[in-house]
Amino acid sequence: MRTTLPFRLENERLYLRRIHPLIRLIIPFILVIPFLVLEDFYLTITILFITLIIDLLLRVNFITIFSRLKIVIPFVFLITIFIPFYVGETVYYRFPIGITIYQEGLNLAFLLSLRIFGALFIFMSFFSTLTYSEFIGALTKLRIPSVLIGSLIIMLHYIPILASSNKKILEAQEMRGKKISTYWQNLKTHAYILGKSIVMNMERSEKLYESLKMRGFSGKISFAPIKLKASDIGILILFILIIVNFIFVINLELIYRGVFTLIMP
């Protein structure tokens, strides 16, 4: 299996790709910042709900996104696990050994986890619609220095190459009995692979630099920017208006309570 970067294929058809990549890069920030700044549970849920609807309507594979989110569970767990023991005054449960869990701390830990997962889910939903060139195009449009973009491109260029060559080395070693070797032998092998990867990486970077030099590289890589359309700006304004309405105009708590009463009278 070929190792690839987590970008969409250039020839893949997706409704969301009609929107300018820069807008797709900005929208998640518009969605995430309000619920990270404002401590509003209902706003958080609403924004997540909107993202889920967008994913469903525009056929973004959110199941893959959820499966990728699993990776961050241990980190979120580590961040939030101790909060209920220190934050708050209302006792939720007291252990016989003297440790207390507070209600406010539990709420905060839950909200914090929801916010982290929610923010990641929104970012991944929108970023997963970008192709490699759209991602670079959006960064170019944001006027990120070309030196940084160039470095990023070269770094991204080598990730799949190095990953696949490492995989081949491991496979070749497996064929020569790596799996039956001892733990220390395994560790030594991995150290060799790491060393080899560093050398290979340096050699390849040097060659790439030489090939760029042959084509006139002077430290700057420039790309043709993709033009913004009026409809792209319109979509951006629409999202801003929706969020502003949710924060200042619509009483989300009232709506949720109403819906809840309707479902469970």
């Binding site: 192709t131 060659k207 084509r215």
Partner: protein
């Protein structure tokens, strides 16, 4: 011209002329210095002594002058992954023309032409990661062609390619050579290409030129034959197993 690495390997007393618009094949055993010689020719390495003249200009270390010479040289690396870097094939091909400070319209014309020349027009928006080895090689070649070089230096252009890809590559290169009067200097271990495609052959051994002349004469040269071995030796070995 002379060159030496810290490891001790030397390129010694190299001197040869290359006529314009011809195909020249450089061959030699592994470690004979072929790639080093190519890197010297394009100014990626500096000779310890002697000069290299390309189209009557001496290769210097002056960046501006070197770039002026390099504008007319296209150097194809053996591994296309060492060359393709941009998110799409189109962007990668336009990298060189943009560095030539051409306007965007001209860049587009050149990219279209180069893509068409290597039969990759339908892959223009593809990422290099999603191409096969042969397609990558063609895309890397297109990146050079878009700069309209007068001299193409190809390091093992047919290595790791199947027969169909080799045929397609040769068709492209021959068409380009005839239509654009390009000089081609290539390295290969495969003597078939040196014998049948090249008009001139250079045989390198341990950093020295052992033969410089017509390929059919070179392949009959006793020193060259002894060093290269032959298909007959391999065939005899297989038949006698």
């Amino acid at each position: 011209m002379n060159y030496s690495y810290n490891s001790g390997f030397k390129i010694q007393n190299i001197s040869f002329k290359l006529e314009e618009k011809v195909v020249c094949g450089l061959t030699g055993n592994n470690g004979s210095g072929k790639t080093t010689l190519l890197r010297l020719l394009v100014g990626l390495l500096k000779p310890k002594s002697g000069n290299i003249k390309i189209f009557n200009n001496i290769l210097t270390r002056n960046k501006k002058e070197l770039w002026e010479i390099r504008e007319s040289i296209g150097f194809l690396f053996q591994n296309p992954d060492d060359q393709l870097f941009a998110p799409t094939i189109e962007e990668d091909i336009s990298f060189g023309p943009r560095n030539l400070k051409l306007d965007e319209e001209e860049v587009k014309v050149r990219v279209d032409w180069a893509l068409d020349a290597v039969n990759l027009s339908e892959f223009r928006t593809y990422s290099p990661f999603n191409l096969s080895w042969g397609q990558k090689k063609r895309a890397a070649l297109a990146g050079l062609l878009a700069m309209k070089p007068k001299l193409l230096i190809l390091d093992e252009p047919f290595a790791n390619l199947d027969f169909t890809s080799i045929y397609n590559h040769l068709v492209i290169l021959e068409k380009l050579r005839k239509e654009n009067e390009i000089t081609i200097f290539f390295t290969s271990h495969n003597l078939f290409f040196v014998e049948h495609w090249a008009k001139k052959m250079l045989f390198l051994d341990n950093g020295r030129i052992l033969f410089d002349g017509k390929p059919h004469e070179g392949l009959r040269n006793s020193d060259v034959k002894q060093l290269l071995g032959s298909y007959d030796d391999i065939l005899t070995l297989i038949k006698n197993r």
